[in-house]
Point group: C5
Chain length 249, copies 5
């Protein structure tokens, strides 16, 4: 019984050639804290050499096209790996919370039309710790069990943004969903957190997805941050010597 | 005779399996002052072991999923106790007054389709008193009579927010409704006020709903507030000794 | 010939049992300056013991229910006195100018469907004078003539708000309308101004509508204001004696 | 070929009895700088004793009714002089630029349904000069030729507001239109600029439209401004005597 | 497979007589940084003596008509050179990013209905360099090859605004598109950047489009800026002599 109608009039999924996967798993990688969702999806698409099969568009997305090797791509794209019945939705743009509902509704409606067996929205979770654990929340205990050796259960609290909307719609539509949250410390891109999430996805999907590139990026970023920290410390020491010397920014 | 149409296009009630209650009573627990509505509904659902039968969703709700034991739930849910012909709508999120009208209209339309015999929106009412009385307002004297020994009549004034909208829609639709308002002192969660409201509901529904857990929570909160008050008093005495020491906030 | 369509999608008049008046007069009492419209309508409904036959509702009204003797009423209601072919629309809430157009359109469409013979929107008009005259403006000289011994014609200027919208819609629909404006001095409720307007309505409708209660209220308010003025004057004298004593507000 | 649809859902022209003019000229007088459009239309309607045949209404107009001799009129009205196949649209209210598009579209759709031979939107144009020239811009050289002895061509630049929207819609609909702009110096009502525009309209329409009243008003306004200027000058001389005396505003 | 609908309800292309080009190339010249798109389109329309065949209109465009030789034109127009199967969309107004999506969608839907073989949105790209290179981005390597000798590939990054939306829609609709970006230094009109873009278009279209006029304009602008720079330098020298002399703006 459904009272009333709340159509998702602002968001379109356009997949012209159709989907060949049977009961696919759909992973959603939208950028959030630590850009975890975007990095995870980008790396998986690249490692599995997934094929772009469509785009998601909306009047409410910012009017921006993204370039790779001079080729323009819509900023939110749908990729498929038909051998593994695996679909990835990858967003290169931050999306206003105002349309999280519409994206969630559109994605889950589409997932239902494909008889998807699982949705995996990826998010980041900020803590004060050095660790890079992966947390999980799900629509049911069965989905939590799938990752019980690799991820900690996020027992209580809430998940907001697009991952939250996807979980809500999954709950309401009785569609299995598993949200994986990469532990990170702040808003800067965190390839190491993304690598840890990918490990959980690899295990879950029984796939081998290399995170080598992400770990190298993380090492590089950390080395640079370390150098910068030393310079700042040095600069601070210098500063104390000259009273007129001031550092900005 | 109805001139014009004001459909409730922003709010959906989704109850897939249908409702088995006959002429149910529907209690609406949305958070407001003292979180009375939310606490009342949560406790009733828990004590009566009510079964979730659906959700309410809206593009205008914040995009957030709530977690209990790692399981994600939509933030506004519908529960049923078919033995007692009792339905509870429970919201874990604050809702913008802008959609109070739509929620009221959707809930009352749905209540009519179920031949509900009574709606009981729960609210809080802030006073300066230590007491925790329960106040009542209704669409008719008959409903006020149902609780005349347990609740004071809120003779004059007005009720705003979702409870107000539900009362308006009930009035217009000639559907019996009884608003119960738990007396509280401010915005902090007030389990004792909720316990008092539950006592009225128990009596009205001829049900035994324990409020033991709420009373314990209230005792605990009050003990902590008492300790805090003593510490603050101590701090204030210390303050008077040091002229430069100032406490903010 | 009508080019285009501007439906009034935001406002509903709900009158389930229908109207038994023939060619009724419809008086609209929305609160404005001096609350004149609201007080006039409340007093007429009370004195003529009019029966509530419906409500007006809108997504754009504030979500509030009003209580009389513990019973909840929708804030904008429709009353009828079938013996006198008289309908009163009474609003207990201030209404945003943004929906004045929709209310005007909905009310006049409904008035046409009832073959109403006259609409009487009530408003306040602020002047600097002590007097409590009643001013009139109308869709035609014929309507002005109906009250020419009791009300001054508001020769030039403009009327804004809901009364203005009702006059516009009446003008466009060629429906007779007579706006009565009670002279008042400011935003405080002015029962005396309302009483004067009721005298004009009584005369026009050939009805006896007592304004005794309003005059008593006005006397009481004025006595209190007089006392307050004396106190303030006293306080001001005291103030001049003590240089640090200052009164605010 | 028309791709897409942009209906004008916010603006209505209501002309119940229909129009008897054949291939009429339609003059649009909306207030703008110097109130030129409003004054021109008001004077023409008055001098030609045109009959009101309808109104234009919109949810987006301010909710205001205008009074003439105690009679309430909708603020935007349509008048006709059937002998001269002449229609005037007269607005007594300033209109938000946001609905200029909708007014332009509605008016031009209506003009097309009437097989109008010419639209004449009136506007003001602010310059620093004492002169009161009339400028013209048109959808074609043919229309500019009609007034080439009386008005200067506004060779380059742009026209914004309702007159601009009417010109755009005329251009797109291939309907002849001629915009007449009265030269004025600022925002104060300028009857002399309006009189000069009327002279051009009279010549164009081969009609005698007296501007005597406007010229007298202009003389009166200018005399008063002259007196005010002398007083201000006097005040300034006084000022120079007292160093602390300052005039604002 | 298309899930959901996102109609472009805000933007219309009106081309009454139809298009005679077969598989046309469509160049879109909307103003942006350096006004490059607008200048390119204006010059091409003028040099190829293209014929206006339509307009683009929208409720969300500013209400403004543009004048050339006293004739009023809609601000966004469609021109055709049927001999060369070439269509140019030329905008004289800045357009809010909020409707970039709708313009992109409407233009690309229309391009598809015409079986267009290529879309060429023009944009500006700001750098710190003196150079006036032309950059290219495309929906495929094939389109980049068309200009590989004349334009540098914009390898990575993003393009925002209307050109970005047109690229996104082309990507999603699998319609070939090539964005040409004229290198410029800032927001002032840059005819030299436009001339360089036109050279690339000429080469691509195998057309001779003179840029003589633009180069002369550029020389003139640069001479004036040079003079101004000298004056400012002079002024600055003067300034250093008098401590109280300050130049603003």
């Amino acid at each position: 019984m459904i009272a009333g109608t709340t159509d998702s009039e602002y968001v379109n999924i356009i997949v012209e050639e159709g989907v060949s996967s049977k009961n696919p798993v759909i992973l959603e990688g939208f950028p959030g804290i630590g850009l975890v969702g975007n990095i995870v999806a980008t790396q998986i698409v690249s490692e599995l050499k997934m094929k772009q099969i469509g785009t998601i568009e909306s009047r409410l997305f910012p009017p921006i096209t993204v370039l790779y090797d001079g080729i323009a791509y819509a900023p939110v794209r749908v990729y498929e790996d038909p051998q593994n019945d695996f679909i990835v939705i990858l967003s290169d743009i931050l999306i206003h919370p105002m349309i999280a509902y519409d994206i969630g509704k559109t994605v889950i409606n589409w997932a239902q039309s494909l008889n998807a067996r699982l949705n995996i929205p990826i998010a980041g979770i900020a803590t004060m710790r050095e660790q890079r654990s992966v947390y999980a929340a799900a629509t049911g205990a069965e989905q939590l069990n799938l990752v019980k050796d690799k991820a900690e259960t996020l027992v209580t609290g809430s998940i907001s943004g697009i991952a939250g909307s996807i979980m809500n719609e999954s709950h309401t539509s009785k569609l299995p969903a598993l949200c994986l949250l990469g532990e990170t410390q702040g808003p800067t891109p965190d390839p190491r957190a993304a690598a840890r999430v990918i490990d959980v996805v690899s295990d879950l999907m029984k796939l081998t997805i290399s995170t080598q590139k992400l770990v190298e990026e993380a090492d590089q970023i950390e080395t640079e941050l370390h150098k910068l920290a030393e310079q700042v410390q040095g600069a601070e020491q210098v500063e104390t010597k000259g009273p007129t010397q001031v550092m900005y920014g």
